[in-house]
Assembly symmetry: D2
Homo-oligomer: 363 residues x 4
């Protein structure tokens, strides 16, 4: 199934960028969970462009409408469906390029996959807009998890070659994560953030684009959730994360860097801390061993490619006529999608953890 | 499910390192496919230690026995089950550490997950030994794919900080991949390979270990397989790849490096080549756009952490007594598992592609 | 998952009887299929009450709105979501009984399952109203199947002890099935139909209700679809069919009656007919052998219990207070739901066959 | 997937009748459950022919070998795989009919489904022999359930037109079920049992066969397990039950008979009993309302067709040559498979309930 993620909860995403509505159905949520709609809207609004300097994207309110699964503000336990109407669609922007494959986009591969019948206006079902229902689902999961002491936060780790400081992977708290979440540009070191914004503006001025890395951390996940082989936390998180357009890589804990460490450096030694809990002295494993949470913060980095839509002229093909052409992409495009992808990464993490938490005794 | 991967084919892996046998059931393979057992054994033998200088691991013949699903050397279309008997188990090596959590291993997290009832001898179901049935499944898929012109090859890209040359991601051929596959130490540049071996030997002498990166390439995958959002090639490949113990990261195409490129550099422009096919001038996208194959080689890098079992003394906890202890791991352990992981990475790739190919018209 | 059926297509149903909308998402439909909305509305209208004499149920237009997955009247191949707004909800009718378990309903079991948080107005997610999205999905599948020569028709076989004639299970044609479908009261023998209507009216007058059996036939299904053991046609059809409220039994071909036949009577002998096709002389197997279609008409009977909502006073419990009570159910209820269930049974059959047909070569 | 049933536990069955071994992998069983192998063997031995008078079937010990998932006699929580070697295969018996479609068997449909590559010796993967691993899985589940007070028992309700008495569906106890289970011919009324045996013997003498109905009851299932729409108990139970060859119908509670009752007769009124539990006065609903258990005994009837293998000559086709032929089936065949199917029906019920019980709080 293209758009169904099925584990202990099922997330079924539907919609096209320029159709009448997009949405998501979440099946198997626990019953009786309070749903705080203003908080959900706030979560989703982080996906909207906050900074006009670096975003030219369409501004839609993206207010979700819950059709089912919530009664008297609590989950019913039966499927929760929410839709988001598409109000601000400028199809004219796209009509001129409908037969030209935009480089870096799924126009060509999507046309092959669906024999040309997919709705390719604005990327259709491949559009980044489909991350709005993902964020809705993630925001719902976040509320349920937070009541169990689990808190997820993501922030921009790098834009192009500007890299933020990192947390110590050991002492991250919910409060750290919230303080960054509330920033307009979610980085740890605001000076680095300024440089990132400059980098994005420069790309915009050059009719070009940039990418970056988002770090995502989940605190409070109890030790012992997940499973070996195919249903570990890394399997699930990565499977969902690659559902966000433009993601090209993911790593957990020290990730690719751990390949340059000695085993004695990379191994995280265990000890019993003052409170009688088993913890590790370092956290190169990113909170996951054998697919299962260790009780340490869960940490992953997600790589986003530069926005494929750029204003510079590019070479491409007309895939219906099979001939070489040039393309000049018009319309509204962010020079960098990383800032808006931050809540999407959190959402993916929340969904994965929520699903695995249902296996936790006495959830 | 911990050990079932279910897409168009289902792979169900079972077994523990020191149980009587391990194995795999593959459901929904096409019927009538010739199964070349010597080729499968050859594929699997690449998982065994080839180079005694860098490997101290147990040497088991790992000859799979097919119990079902093959009749007169051809797949029946009904479930194919194969088992591999565990013949060379030295449980005594592990008995002394049975209550101590080996750093970097799943002893502690596994004990929590299964309330201490899992078979933790030699890592049990978490053992790297469970990649043998994965390789079997991958070898079966490889044979079926090769008849459709699809060929997958993996090689060692780096060991610690020694990095091999890379192919051009454009012109990779089946012949290139085979020539490397046949090497005793599968790298492109053999001089680099020598340095890698030296690095591994040095780690071994220091009672330590090292990790590295494996690059995997699939050629001949037709454009148009995969799906958007949750069932793209990246989702599937990564979900299986994290089933290989010690994997901590995966990236496709330019991967994390693409985050430092401008959009105009990273975008792969399309053109119609001399044979009338749509191809791209560069291959930063790693053959996948919107989760769907573009027809270009599929490329991914997989990061392996250093072998967690090292001979150096480490601090840890006795998780039954909840007290701090030291641990000295004895037994046979490779100072680097990367060389033996090469066919495992191929296997994961083959399984994912095989599954998606079943959606391809006229497969 | 409670409300997701996942095979080669995934059907995800959502909504509650008195919520704002109900709907369904269908994932993995083939792309490029023409969707005839007037035909879908017509299919769904058969679920609405046609005969005021025997139906007091709420009359809602039940016009589905397609939110995604259809573009220029053709399926895009990406998820097709349709919703049906709930316009005519009389919650007041139900308020008086909200804590009393209606006998034969899921009020009590649903309250236990969801800790009392489910929306129990009008049965909530358990309501027969949720068969509207099922019918939508079935109507979509019917159109796709009909283009491949597959046609499904259901009709009322019995109401209480009034039993209709049966087709010969051998010579059923699409034309037969259509002629019955177009009847206001879909039976073969209209005189029997009149008696059935009388039976229903008598039940209504007695403030009571009756049930019956629906026979469903699919013609034109090619031989060779389905699979052994758990994924046969019988497994799939029955799994979906029990998703229709009030279904308490299903049988294929001669079904329970075959238990009274000798093997020599029940076995359907094969022969090559004049057109060179393998057919059977009788069709006690109902078109399915070993879970796989034989090319003969697929036949099943589905048993519906009498409408549990009756106007007669009944004993029951107040399950919040845990004390014995009486209940007088008010509101609109059909004295027999069988006539309105006919298209639901067809829909379930269509969905199952559509899903299995995707495995058929050159579908 | 043909042979994978996936819910909260996954059952993956493999093997062919005349291959080297058949088996099953059970994934996601709770860890730490004691496995009583002699009890499992005893359960499975009920599948073997007990009564030589009515059975000519091959007598194999069918001792399962556990390959994984059990350590120190307890489940590890990781996949449990067991195999049963095929020791007593008389392929010669079948060689003469390999191209003739045995009426009532899946020879023809299986050959189409798998392009003739399936192993059709003795029915291959379609063989009733594949119910041995099903029984193994059911026996494992039975042990785990029994510790939670859940007990399942099946018995022969009818053979051809000889019908046994029925229990009252209200007061069935574990003791009743055990007392019948221990009978050589599991019926309630032994005189009826004698007549059934006579009927079977008569069929055997006539070179013919008979079928019958098995009733299966589960006691002690707590109220509140199961789910609405597609994941109810009826959906799950029926989906597995049709995995037993020769099953052609299933009904729950009053089943097809409820279609002839008035609603006021069929509705099961609730009351609070002396112990303060909510129970029903009758049990026409078979313990399931809205797909969810009510706490009353779960009751279903399963219809088995007469053994399709009969010694009488039959007409059929040679499906490779596409011409009409006669067939004389030799070899060992039971004149009635119903007695040996009793534990299979129990097994299917146990697997379904076990799976749903994992959703029960504090399981």
């Amino acid at each position: 199934m293209s758009s169904v993620w099925s584990n202990r909860i099922t997330i079924s995403i539907f919609g096209e960028s320029h159709g009448s509505a997009i949405g998501v159905t979440i099946d198997n949520l626990p019953a009786g969970e309070y749903i705080d709609m203003p908080e959900i809207v706030k979560f989703m609004s982080r996906r909207a462009a906050r900074n006009k300097k670096i975003s030219t994207a369409r501004q839609e309110p993206d207010i979700p409408t819950i059709l089912s699964g919530v009664y008297k503000d609590r989950t019913t336990g039966t499927p929760l469906c929410a839709i988001i109407n598409n109000t601000n669609t400028h199809s004219a922007d796209y009509s001129s390029i409908s037969k030209l494959a935009r480089p870096g986009h799924a126009d060509y591969t999507g046309a092959l996959r669906y024999n040309g019948f997919n709705d390719n206006r604005g990327g259709g079902h491949f559009s980044g807009r489909l991350t709005a229902p993902l964020c809705f689902a993630g925001a719902v999961c976040a509320q349920i998890l937070e009541r169990r002491g689990i808190y997820t936060g993501a922030h921009i780790l790098s834009i192009k070659d500007v890299r933020d400081n990192r947390y110590s992977p050991l002492g991250i708290t919910r409060e750290h994560l919230i303080s960054i979440r509330n920033k307009k540009f979610p980085v740890i070191n605001d000076e680095k953030g300024e440089k990132m914004i400059e980098t994005i503006c420069a790309a915009k001025d050059a009719k070009d684009s940039v990418g970056g890395i988002i770090e995502c951390i989940a605190t409070g996940v109890p030790a012992g959730i997940g499973s070996p082989i195919f249903n570990g936390l890394e399997n699930s998180i990565s499977q969902i994360m690659f559902g966000i357009p433009a993601v090209k890589g993911i790593e957990f804990g020290a990730g690719f860097d751990c390949t340059t460490l000695m085993g004695s450096e990379n191994n995280d030694e265990f000890y019993v801390n003052g409170e009688g809990h088993v913890v590790t002295k370092t956290n190169n494993h990113g909170g996951i061993l054998g697919g299962i949470s260790s009780g340490m913060p869960i940490i992953c980095n997600v790589a986003f490619k530069p926005t494929p839509s750029i204003a510079l002229q590019q070479d491409t093909v007309d895939y219906s006529a099979m001939k070489n052409e040039h393309i000049n992409i018009k319309g509204r495009h962010d020079p960098c999608i990383v800032p808006r992808a931050v809540p999407c990464v959190e959402a993916a993490m929340n969904i994965a953890i929520m699903s695995h938490m249902l296996d936790y005794p006495n959830f």
